[in-house]
């Protein structure tokens, strides 16, 4: 069934709960290549941090390669580039020579950066509309906040769940260590170019500046994934069905189709690639991608449309909805100073820790 025929089913109240993609990835070096996962701080001081290698419920080792948040941060900026940029308004905050796109702001439409610009009132009104059951104003200025989730935690408290969640994990992994030795260009101390360091502080200072030999042993050396690497991505259709444009059914349908279009485009574009130094992943040609729709009963049915199909649908839906105006707005010093006024600090002091959702 073509995508256009599927859309109504996706948006129907009794339609599928979600679309799910499982993509098998491999390091560019080959199946047994060494890849470098992200390192994390330890939860308690004194404990070693490092890679997040855990044991799953079946006892298999499992390593986090890219978290939900990291994947969202990689996917969202795609909407700055052609051909996707025409699907959404381009909102940029300019401060001096620096320009920051709303797609790069940590909290999206709810970020302090955007709040300290002339968009403050517009966004506040948009969030208030969300609370009153109308997400259209927010979709006109920051539609990707609807796709990847947003919480206006510092103002209206409007909160929208993420529609797309994506994670990359490696299975059955071996952890590697590596050691290295830094050799200075010349023997500064032996040659009499520098004095003998008097104490540890002086020695550390020499080491930091590269004047003496510095060994490094037992540091993180990457992993080998014997059980493969997989990206699991979910598009929650239920979350789209919770969007309204007030009580206007026609507008609500256009809004949902627009957000569904953006979600499908983001969902079907492979965000793997050069994740970080030493972690360049590509699709594994020997294992086909699994792409299914999941019904509320848990039943799964294969889905066949492509990224190009999704883009074509998204362009049509964006045209029907009417993409919001792109704007470059200056950073507003006065708003920033007001935002950091003593009143705000007092409020912050008395504010209890936000509950985890």
């Amino acid at each position: 069934m073509s995508l256009s025929k599927k859309i109504d089913e996706f948006l129907s109240l009794n339609g599928p709960a979600a679309l799910v993609i499982r993509e098998h990835l491999t390091p560019v070096e080959g199946e047994d290549g060494v890849l470098f996962p992200p390192t994390y701080a330890a939860q308690k001081s004194g404990e070693p941090g490092g890679y997040n290698i855990d044991t799953d419920a079946q006892g298999q080792s499992i390593c986090l390669i890219d978290s939900v948040g990291a994947q969202a941060n990689r996917i969202e900026p795609m909407f700055e580039e052609e051909p996707y940029s025409s699907l959404v308004p381009q909102i940029v905050v300019k401060a001096g020579e620096k320009e920051v796109s709303i797609f790069e702001a940590g909290h999206r439409a709810g970020d302090a950066l955007v709040r300290c610009s002339e968009l403050q009132q517009t966004l506040q009104d948009a969030f208030k509309s969300v609370l009153k059951g109308d997400a259209e104003p927010l979709a006109k200025i920051a539609p990707t906040s609807l796709v990847f989730g947003v919480w206006d935690s510092r103002d209206t408290q409007a909160k929208l769940p993420r529609i797309i969640g994506s994670t990359i994990r490696a299975y059955d992994v071996s952890r590697l260590k590596r050691s290295a030795q830094f050799n200075p260009a010349t023997e500064y101390v032996n040659e009499g170019l520098l004095p003998e360091p008097a104490d540890k502080t002086a020695k550390d200072a020499f080491a930091e500046r590269g004047f003496i030999h510095v060994p490094a042993t037992g540091s993180h050396g990457g992993i080998i994934a014997h059980g493969g690497i997989r990206r699991d991505a979910t598009l929650a259709l239920t979350a789209i069905r919770r969007l309204f444009a007030g009580k206007d059914d026609a507008k609500t349908l256009k809004l949902r189709r627009y957000i569904l279009g953006l979600s499908l485009v983001a969902f079907t574009k492979n965000p793997a690639g050069d994740l970080r130094q030493g972690c360049n992943l590509v699709l594994d040609p020997s294992k086909p991608r699994e792409f299914v729709e999941v019904l509320p009963t848990g039943e799964r049915k294969p889905v066949t449309f492509t990224h190009e199909d999704a883009l074509a649908f998204a362009q049509q839906a964006a045209h029907d909805f009417g993409v919001g105006e792109s704007r470059v707005v200056p950073f507003d010093k006065q708003r920033a100073l007001k935002d950091v006024s003593p009143k705000d600090k007092e409020e912050k002091k008395s504010k209890p820790k936000a509950a985890k959702s």
């Binding site: 709960a17 330890a42 855990d54 408290q157 600090k345």
Partner: protein, 524 residues
């Protein structure tokens, strides 16, 4: 009887939700599910009012007793880690920006993450949670609306725990599948405590949501009061048997100078009988109703006339009782004489009875067990032969070492009094083993435990010092049934040998101490 099954499936085999104190919560509490349904109802309408959309259904749901839960088995992450999340406070970032330091984007706060890993079903789809509500036989009017709400759930737990749901009706309680566990609500403060909605939860949630949205009104911070309209309910996996409550006593001589001894083989039944008689006297003095004394203390069945009205109580082995008449359930007291297990020579050996336990094998008379501890302490045991005092009851702590031999968790157990089989074995060992497994089921153990326990049966005791099974005195109505000493080893759960708490007592006559097991090695 029908069951409403609210199902939630998590897209990833992970769960991040936490209970009070930052501890992982599994299974997710019924209140957590309820909150997600209320949020789904609020999202069904532009007005955001859950009452308008599903008020009746949600108010019906909050009044239901705590549901049973079938949940995927879980394993706590062994590698907790810390993430640094951009903190959306403008005071640090904006002040830098206002000074022209545009490199500073924002401050970051620490977020510690330690998820639970969940077992996927056999078909490798999403891990499942079923919340099972007993809705009786009457027509159920809320299936459609609750189904709509369940299908609108977007996550359960943290925001990254994406989920979807559904609602179905079942004629019988669905069974747990491989990799899943059935969690049942229990009356036990040591069980896993989960939040359960109560009458008024819906209104309280709506009020809290309103207060949260308005917490920063008019440039002032208005604290949001915590939710209090819920109750805590103990939950325990069906595979783990609940530790039975008990009251322990030692029997002293009348002058209290030393412990009173009774022969294990011939006098255990006599001790149990005296104890039961004593409990009956105390209950009468405490003005219990005749019916309660009859069923809880004496374990008598109730005869009813043709109109269904209560007629009289009879011993449940009375030939007048017919199958159609009520029989007494497990909610009665059990009187267990405890043979001492002492070091003699090279090892442990079974000695005389010096202590007794009063317990129950059901769930319905925990308070009555606690009552016996107070009511029987210091009372005289009266001989059935001459009506004279023959010993004195003295309460002892549950932590007493000999008591722990019968009550602490252990993997391997052996009988100190023989198990009376619940049927004829025709001298066939296979039949006998099958009957022992049946006795385990009758004693309230799960099918899994009953079928997978390792069993050894024989006439000779597994404990030195104990008599042959055939030598033990048993009640007349049980004399015809085969009896064996049994050694039982619980099956392994994962890589660990399963240890279950006592009191372990099975087979015919278990309410007066026949078929009583003692742990071969006691866990501290």
């Amino acid at each position: 009887m029908s069951y409403l099954c609210l199902t939630v499936r998590l897209h990833q085999p992970l769960f991040h939700g936490q209970r009070d104190g930052g501890e992982p919560e599994w299974p997710p509490s019924p209140l957590r599910l309820y909150q997600s349904l209320v949020a789904a109802a609020a999202a069904q309408t532009p007005d955001g009012d859950p009452m308008a959309v599903a008020g009746d259904a949600l108010q019906w749901l909050e009044r239901q007793p705590a549901p049973a839960i079938i949940a995927a088995k879980s394993r706590l992450s062994v590698t907790p880690y810390r993430m640094y999340v951009p903190n959306n406070t403008a005071d640090l970032a904006a002040s830098s920006w206002s000074r022209g330091a545009t490199d500073t984007i924002t401050a970051r706060v620490e977020k510690d993450i330690r998820p639970l890993h969940l077992i996927r079903p056999a078909d490798l789809t999403e891990p499942v949670l079923h919340y099972l509500y007993d809705i009786g036989e009457a027509p159920f009017p809320y299936l459609e609306i609750l189904g709509r709400l369940a299908r609108s759930i977007t996550h359960l737990g943290w925001g990254i725990d994406q989920a979807f749901g559904n609602a179905t009706l079942h004629a019988t309680m669905p069974a747990s599948q491989a990799g899943e566990e059935l969690w049942l609500p229990v009356i036990d403060p040591t069980a896993t405590q989960l939040r359960v909605p109560i009458k008024g939860s819906l209104l309280a949630l709506s009020a809290k949501h309103g207060a949260f949205l308005n917490r920063l009104k008019q440039d002032l911070f208005h604290p949001v009061p915590p939710l209090t309209a819920f109750q805590l309910k103990g939950y325990r996996p069906d595979s783990l048997r609940q530790a039975q409550p008990f009251a322990a006593f030692q029997i002293l001589t009348i002058d209290g100078s030393r412990m009173r001894l009774f022969d294990t083989t011939q006098k255990s039944l006599v001790v149990a009988g005296m104890l039961r008689h004593l409990a009956g006297q105390a209950a009468q003095e405490s003005r219990w109703s005749d019916a309660k004394i009859s069923s809880v203390i004496f374990g008598h069945a109730t005869l009813r006339n043709s109109n269904g009205n209560q007629e009289r109580h009879v011993h449940q082995h009375n030939p007048q009782r017919q199958e159609s008449q009520d029989i007494v359930g497990p909610d009665r007291l059990a009187y267990l004489p405890l043979p001492s297990i002492e070091f003699r020579g090279q090892g442990l050996s079974v000695g005389s009875v010096r202590r007794v336990l009063i317990t129950t094998f059901g769930q319905g008379c925990f308070e009555e067990v606690a009552w016996t501890r107070r009511a029987l302490n210091g009372r005289d045991l009266i001989s059935e032969h001459n009506g004279h005092a023959t010993g004195m009851m003295a309460s002892i702590p549950n932590s007493e070492k000999m008591v722990q031999r019968y009550t602490n968790a252990a993997n391997t157990w052996a009988t100190v009094t023989p198990v009376i089989l619940p049927g004829r074995d025709d001298r066939n060992p296979r039949k006998a083993e099958k009957l022992i497994r049946k006795a385990l089921l009758q004693a309230g153990f799960t099918e899994f435990l009953a079928q997978n326990a390792e069993l050894e049966l024989r006439n000779v005791s597994f404990w030195p010092g104990s008599d042959l099974a055939s030598h033990f005195r048993v009640p007349k109505h049980l004399e015809a049934y085969p009896r064996y000493h049994v050694r039982l080893k619980w099956p392994a759960l994962g890589q660990e040998p399963l240890k279950l708490p006592g009191v372990l007592c099975i087979g015919g006559g278990r309410h007066y101490g026949l078929g009583l097991f003692a742990a071969e090695r006691v866990s501290e």
